[in-house]
């Protein structure tokens, strides 16, 4: 659990320059990250052991065994594998700038198109899970956390449990129990809201465990802060204090965590999508991985890095909204 690393995260606590300067810097460093990810993605394709042309031919034809040199030459020429690495790299970067992530070895379609059509459901799933996780974490914290009773302890234990339980296993159980056996939810969710329930829960429960722990920790800590006592001394009720003062503070590390959560959600979504046989990046990636379709995998790397950058900018902005100290310095 990366809990600790996150609560101490330096990413967000950049104390602030002028907002526009800040934003520009943020974008710039985002671009650097994406560029580096692109380089990484390119390198993956290069270090693939074995001859890339050979793999492309065999994957396409379904054959095993060495292809003729003429066939290899044709493929090498088509994909430019015969050029120096620097040239290939330059072309790759240039292509990316044009929104072209290369072509799938297996599907012979542009990777950008493949990812574009699959990423929608994945993002919907991830965001739904994020929201649900937040909702669970906040509601439970608001009502239960920091009280000296059994529920509070139970909540704590539940959160640790949820954060630990393998999500794909939980998903399988949810699927069999609630869909196949009880028939409450559809087995094939598709993209309908009702079909989204089980996969979202499977993803969100784990995340809510993480969020819950972080939010609850902070919540309990803030509950003892002098300004909370101040508020109580003004005659504010316990719930009022929790809602108006404490929650906002407790949300801050949770917000920071959301950027990290995106990565976690994407990881989780890959597994969950496979369990539920859902449309999405997961199935495509797993298929691509087992057939060495590197352009898809490296395209996904690039896209998720870009998404991460985008998400962390959103997280930072949100953080600034919730914590005006940063904005107004």
């Amino acid at each position: 659990m990366t809990l600790i690393s996150m609560t101490g995260s330096d990413a967000v606590r950049i104390v602030a320059h002028h907002p526009i300067v800040w934003f520009a810097r943020r974008i710039f460093s985002g671009v650097v990250v994406v560029w580096a990810a692109a380089t990484f993605a390119f390198l993956i394709q290069c270090v693939l052991p074995g001859d890339r042309a050979q793999i492309i031919i065999n994957v396409t034809s379904g054959n095993v065994g060495p292809a003729s040199s003429a066939e290899l030459a044709a493929i090498n020429a088509k994909y430019g594998f015969d050029q120096p690495l620097a040239v290939q790299y330059g072309k790759y970067i240039l292509q990316i700038l044009h929104g072209d992530l290369g072509e799938s070895y297996q599907q012979h379609r542009p990777v950008a198109a493949i990812i574009a059509e699959q990423i929608g459901p994945t993002i919907v799933l991830a965001i739904a899970a994020l929201l649900i996780a937040w909702l669970i974490a906040i509601l439970t914290t608001l009502f239960i956390a920091g009280r000296d009773n059994i529920w509070s302890k139970l909540l704590n234990d539940t959160q640790v449990f949820l954060a630990t339980v393998p999500p794909y296993w939980l998903a399988t159980i949810l699927l069999v129990l609630f869909a196949v056996k009880l028939g409450i939810f559809p087995v094939i969710g598709g993209n309908s809201p009702i079909g989204l329930v089980l996969p979202t829960l499977a993803l969100a429960l784990e995340l809510s465990g993480f969020f819950g722990q972080v939010v609850q920790n902070e919540f309990t800590r803030v509950l003892e802060q002098p300004f909370v006592t101040s508020a109580r001394a003004r005659g504010m009720s316990d719930f009022g204090v929790r809602l108006r003062h404490v929650l906002r503070h407790a949300a801050l590390p949770g917000i920071t965590l959301s950027g990290w959560a995106l990565g976690k959600l994407l990881s989780g979504a890959i597994l969950i999508e496979v369990v539920f046989a859902r449309q999405g990046l997961g199935g495509v990636l797993v298929a691509a991985t087992s057939s060495r379709d590197v352009p898809i995998v490296s395209g996904a790397v690039l896209i998720s890095a870009a998404l991460f950058v985008l998400a962390s900018i959103i997280v930072d902005l949100t953080y600034r909204v919730v914590d005006p100290r940063i904005n107004l310095t």
Binding site: I4, V286, S290, A305
Partner: protein
Amino acid sequence: MSMFAEVTLSRPLREVLAIVRRVPFRIAVCIIIFGVFVLAAMAPKVLQTHDPLAIDLRSALQSPSIAHWFGTDQLGRDLYSRVVEGAGQSLAIGLGATALSMSIAMVIGGAAALSGGLLDSILSRIIDVLFAIPTLLLALVFVTVFGPSVLTEVVAVGIGTAPGYARMIRGQMLSIKGAGYVEAAKVLGHPFSRIVWRHILPNAMNPLTAMMTIGVGQAIIWASGLAFLGLGIAPPAPEWGALLNAGRNYVIYAWWLEIIPGLAVTAFALSLTIIGRHLQDRLEGQR
């Protein structure tokens, strides 16, 4: 530095004893669970009731019973014995991956924190980039490139989880680097290398111990996730992820084949997590 060695040596012992006496019930339970799994990993024969690989076609797909505590799989193999057998490999994968990822993280995060300046910027950026790629995706990348095997699984999970640790180590070391006692040592004229060895590394290790404990559990979960996707180690090795992956196909008709290995993974990771968090609290309380 080594003065009063006799005194300082006995200290840890006393502390250990003191800690043992103060162990709360739930931690004790977790330690026992953990102990059982370690025993299973080190000496599976002690715990097994059957040969984990012995095929007994007549008792295929039996639900849990007195003869077969966790039931049997399609080939009549005793699931309990298989779960016990799998502990070793799973534990090895978890430890290996965590060790690897900690090493990488120590090198990158540590170098970044200690060097500062340009190198720090570059290394931090590298960490950022790796951090920007979801763990499982990073792991998939390595499986794509090197093909599935135990080694790939360890490397994939190790590298996949490294950026998080690297970030943490960097932060940890930076804060220790800025701590009063480091400055105090500098004022005493100690060279930086000595400060690193005597102050920064040992103090950074404390929280890392806790993180590693938790990390082993998480690594096992990631690794079994890969296996779950069919990208892990192949049967007949009863590695937990492989059991989970195989069990998935039977879950409608033979629930135990999926539920029980999952419970094993969860129990193991959970006990490690709780122990780790306990350690974390203790070690933090100490500073």
